[in-house]
């Protein structure tokens, strides 16, 4: 099923290949989102009045709740990995299911936010602030969906055939990605909702 190189720490790097691969990917992801933040700051400096007025139209309360939901999902993801690592498969399954549930809740709340904006005739083409807002939160939401697919896969496999303890590395690697998605939101939240 798994080769030694995939699951055992390498003597030259001290970590297994999957983890190294994920960190390389995440480093590139940081630069991907840095581009958006850079564009946002430049546009803000050029249109400070538009940005301030538009940011005040966003719903801070809903965004704060969503931040709490995503931080909770990071906690349950971290717990689901330790549970499997220690051989508690039932707990692994429970925490993975909770993580998936929080991810669904996050997307549900985000959809509600988008729907409210659309009902007030606010769209990505309304102005440069909302163009940035929809692009940044949209790409973030795509990352959330991207994380939910392997979560559902792992949960399904665990329910149908059992998830081997020896494969806990995969959960750790997925966890790295998931915590990164949480990190992006930790920076998006003050940037879009709070600093104006």
């Amino acid at each position: 099923m798994t080769t030694a190189a995939a699951t055992h720490s390498r003597f030259n790097t001290g970590i297994y290949h999957g983890k190294l691969g994920m960190w390389v990917f995440l480093a590139s992801e940081i630069m991907f989102f840095t581009g958006f933040f850079g564009a946002f700051i430049v546009l803000r400096n050029l249109n400070i009045e538009v940005f301030t007025a538009s940011a005040h139209q966003l719903d801070k309360v809903v965004a704060t709740i969503n931040t709490a939901v995503l931080i909770s999902s990071s906690l349950t993801m971290a717990l689901s990995h330790v549970a499997l690592e220690r051989g508690h498969e039932a707990k692994f399954r429970l925490f993975m299911a909770l993580t998936l549930l929080f991810a669904f809740a996050f997307l549900g709340i985000k959809s509600y936010e988008y729907a409210t904006k659309f009902s007030h005739d606010i769209y990505p083409w309304t102005n440069t602030f909302f163009a940035s807002y929809f692009t940044m939160t949209g790409f973030h939401a795509l990352h959330v969906i991207g994380g939910m697919i392997p979560m559902a896969w792992m949960l399904g496999k665990s329910l149908l055939k059992g998830y081997p303890r020896a494969m806990h590395h995969r959960v750790e690697t997925l966890g790295l990605y998931w915590h990164f998605v949480d990190l992006v939101w930790i920076f998006l939240f003050p940037t879009l909702y709070l600093i104006f």
């Binding site: 790097t13 001290g14 970590i15 983890k19 190294l20 960190w23 390389v24 995440l26 480093a27 940081i30 630069m31 840095t34 933040f37 850079g38 700051i41 430049v42 400096n45 801070k60 704060t64 931040t67 709490a68 931080i71 909770s72 990071s74 906690l75 993801m77 971290a78 717990l79 330790v82 549970a83 690592e85 220690r86 508690h88 707990k91 750790e172 966890g175 790295l176 915590h179 990164f180 949480d182 990190l183 930790i186 920076f187 939240f189 003050p190 940037t191 709070l194 600093i195």
Partner: protein
């Protein structure tokens, strides 16, 4: 994570990180009601976000327990990210 520690011990330490993240979230929302001035509000917002990010990376992403050289995967992109953000913000480019 050290293999000698039990699931319950790790759960406890993760819960502490979680509570700290929630408090910092409340704090970052709370400080927006105080006006330090535009620039200082941005600095405070970014500093709290950096602190939250450090907690997530250090504990949830296991960087504290992994090979020290792995930390450069965070330090280097984070350095570029923060330099970029602060330069664009304060040089008014």
């Amino acid at each position: 994570m050290a293999s000698g520690t039990s699931f319950e011990q790790i759960q406890k330490s993760y819960l502490r990180v979680f509570i700290a993240l929630m408090i910092l979230t409340a704090l970052t929302v709370g400080v927006t009601t105080i006006h330090f001035g535009d620039t200082l509000n941005i600095v405070v917002g970014v500093l709290i976000a950096v602190f939250k990010a450090a907690l997530v990376i250090w504990i949830f992403m296991h960087l504290k327990f992994d090979n020290r050289r792995l930390r450069y995967f965070v330090y280097i992109p984070a350095f570029f990210f923060l330099t970029f953000v602060f330069a664009l913000t304060f040089l008014g480019l």
